[in-house]
């Protein structure tokens, strides 16, 4: 029955398509709310265009943060969303008396997988092949894009449905497919909002965390009609209405699709099973309806045994959405004859992961199970959101993973390890106990060492001088004394304007003046008086 339905859908697809793209142009031109830049870009495209600037050329973190901090709506949306999800996490985690043991078990299990990643990957490959799947290896983004494009083209289709997947975002698959004339439709509600909004995800779990309901409603009304089933004119901003609208819009795409793309939350080496954990059921649709399933996954997603799922399936839902159990957990092992996709491909992507693995300290970042707890708890992320991080991985994990994956080359990547006040809240919630502040420090050190290799900077000189002072109590005492002397000229306890870099401090707050008499001297006087 499914097949019959699919074939009718397929037969009407082509005319519908050409008709739609014509309609798309017209409506787009008349859509007053849609800004001109995007309309121009969208013309001739199959899917909504993302923002024009490539991620890698984003501003360094502090400058991007400065811009984003101005957006009061964004800050309000983020604050509301992060605080809600934070407290949900907190309460469900508190229900498990053995939470800390679970975290340790999660960390140990992922470490075990990473320590012998090569043999687990081979085991995974062998088991996948044995179960009828085809395995492809991609060393970088370009290779992964090529593999997926060829596979899709081999089936003569120009449209695929997608389950939300971080690695496909990382390798910018959608745009690569678009360039080849293939439309990749996001089917996760939040990803759909992002895609239709000509936007980028700002969170790995809740990609549209920066949007509120009214914005979502507006996007649906404006964009859905350009790419398929239109949103009803009387669409409400009520979450249920919005979800129903998205479901309606996606339904025809699900039924038409011959090929689906997915990621994987876990890849079980000893059985060759891939696992997807989701909430909306769109994943289940993608994994079961189409004929061909292409799963793209980072090589660090491997876990040794099926029993290990016991740990991560407890850790992940509670840490991410704050649920005791996620609504849908799908597992598939290669091809099951007569049931679900009859052609299954698995693309194993490196794209910098081996480089991360080579760093004995930095590799802890590969334990990440992408729960987003670290970003939801982060006071920095809470204020600027994900777009400031110039990568698909924002928040504390982004600050340690992105520069490692990309190799600490750009100014942006060098600024990421500094995008934290080191408050440590992230490490406290991470379900696999990634010591995020330690990793941030480690990367800061790598940044400094790299800069040092090239030239003697001002900061480095200053640090060296202060370091020399701090090498001796006598020298530091002298500095304290000099600092006290400033009180002869400035009698106030606070100063409101500092010169040069100090401006960055006094832009927002006053600076306390040093004490007239340092403790060191006071102590000496006291000892003298005692005698």
């Amino acid at each position: 029955m499914t097949d019959a339905r699919r074939s009718t859908q397929t037969s009407v697809r082509s005319p519908q398509h050409s008709e739609r793209s014509g309609q798309m142009r017209d409506t787009h031109r008349s859509a007053s709310t849609c800004d001109a830049q995007h309309s121009a870009q969208t013309r001739g495209r199959r899917t909504p265009a993302p923002p024009p600037d490539p991620l890698l050329e984003s501003l360094p973190f502090p400058l991007a943060a400065r811009q984003l901090l101005q957006n009061q709506q964004l800050r309000a949306n983020l604050r509301h969303a992060t605080h809600t999800i934070r407290s949900k996490r907190k309460s469900v985690v508190a229900e498990l008396p053995h939470w800390e043991e679970l975290r340790s078990a999660g960390a140990a299990m992922k470490d075990r997988a990473l320590c012998s990643l090569d043999s687990y990957l081979e085991q995974l490959e062998a088991n996948l092949i044995q179960n009828g799947a085809q395995v492809h290896w991609a060393s970088d983004a370009a290779e992964a894009q090529r593999i997926v494009t060829c596979l899709i083209k081999a089936h003569g289709v120009d449209e695929v449905v997608k389950i939300k997947s971080m690695v496909t975002q990382e390798i910018e698959l959608n745009e690569a497919l678009e360039a080849e004339g293939i439309a990749a439709w996001e089917t996760d509600l939040a990803e759909l909002i992002v895609q239709l909004g000509h936007d980028r995800p700002s969170n790995i779990l809740v990609p549209a965390i920066h949007r509120n309901r009214d914005e979502v409603r507006e996007i649906f009304l404006r964009e859905m009609k350009l790419y398929g089933q239109a949103a009803p004119d009387d669409l409400d901003n009520d979450p249920e209405d919005l979800a129903a609208c998205a479901r309606n819009h996606l339904r025809e795409k699900f039924l038409r699709a011959k090929v689906a793309l997915s990621g994987a939350n876990f890849a079980v080496a000893d059985t060759g099973t891939l696992v997807i954990v989701e909430s909306e059921g769109n994943g289940r649709m993608c994994l079961t309806l189409p004929d061909v399933l292409i799963s793209i996954t980072g090589i660090e997603k491997v876990i040794p045994t099926v029993e290990d799922l016991e740990i991560v399936l407890q850790l992940l839902p509670r840490s991410s959405t704050g649920e005791r159990m996620n609504p849908y957990t799908s597992m598939w092992t290669g091809v099951t004859p007569g049931d679900g996709p009859q052609e299954v491909h698995v693309v194993l992507v490196d794209n910098g992961r081996t480089r991360v693995l080579a760093d004995p300290i930095g590799r802890a970042a590969l334990r990440c199970i992408r729960c987003a707890a670290c970003m939801h708890i982060c006071p920095v992320y809470e204020r600027v959101g994900g777009h400031a991080y110039g990568s698909v991985y924002p928040g504390p994990i982004g600050s340690v993973l992105t520069p490692q994956l990309r190799g600490l080359k750009s100014v942006l990547d060098k600024s990421l390890p500094y995008a934290s006040s080191l408050c440590g809240a992230c490490a406290e919630v991470c379900p696999v106990k990634i010591p995020l502040p330690d990793l941030l420090l480690h990367l800061r050190r790598r940044v400094v060492d790299e800069v040092k290799r090239r030239h003697v900077g001002l900061e480095q000189t200053a640090m060296r001088c202060v370091g020399w002072v701090m090498g001796s109590g006598r020298r530091f005492g002298l500095v304290g004394r000099l600092a006290g002397w400033t009180r002869i000229f400035i009698r106030r306890d606070f100063i409101t304007h500092l010169p040069w870099l100090g401006k960055r401090w006094t832009a927002r707050r006053d600076m306390r003046m040093p004490a007239r008499v340092s403790f060191r001297r006071a102590w000496r006087r006291r000892a003298r008086d005692k005698k």
Binding site: Y418, G424, R491, W505, A515, F519
Partner: protein, 282 residues
Amino acid sequence: MTANIQKKVALFATCINDVMFPDTCMATVRLLERLGCRVCFPPQQTCCGQMFTNTGYFNEAIASVRACASAFEPYEYVVGPSGSCVGSLREQHPLLAELSGDTALQQTVKAVVDKTYELTEFLVDVLGIEDVGAYFPHTVVFHQSCHSLRVARLGDRPRRLMEKVRGLTLLPLEADDQCCGFGGTFSVKNPDLSAAMVSEKARCVAKSGAEYLVTVDNACLMNIGGALHRDGIAVRTIHLAEILCSQECERDEPHVCHPQPNRALLTHNKGEKDGRVGGGAP
């Protein structure tokens, strides 16, 4: 209390307290002496080196590690009135010593780490005292600094000590576990974010209606206090050591009742001359 006589304690003043907040160090000394300890100040000490380590300058921090190790080695206990600096000494110094490749330093550092305590830890865990006989008739809010919570892991010790202070009323502080946005060089490397964070903290403090904002880390006080001062919010800042040191006397200013008031030291918490801050005492 007298049972603790002869506990020989080296004061780890920390650089910021030494130069900016000598009152805190003096209060720590007086408090410990009042509880029967013999306090010394080894003058070779400088700072914990966090400013270097946390900015990525690991090698530059090693000189501070050496200074601390040689200063504190001879003592039975090392006590510092700062969660952040004590945390750094305990968590970062062993790593830095290892990095230096100097095995003797590594051993000294290990020995020092094992006997280093934050003030509230020393009071509660080593001396076994929660009621230090303090009197502070004011309303306060407590900002649990991130490093005292997550690096030094002081837990509820500061609160337990505060609960036993006569006259003190501890008011709730909204979002009390949120970072104040100081973060060392973070405040100059990411000035806009740091400003946004401290603004929110200052707003919560102002909303609390307390007379004093208390922490166990003066670096946070320097940050939040600077914002309060800028905004003209009449909440005064004070380190917990100074509260624990103050005792009952005719006037309820914290420093007046010290056995040997040192006028030169009374620079900060006196009430400001420009009248924007202060006047909190009833």
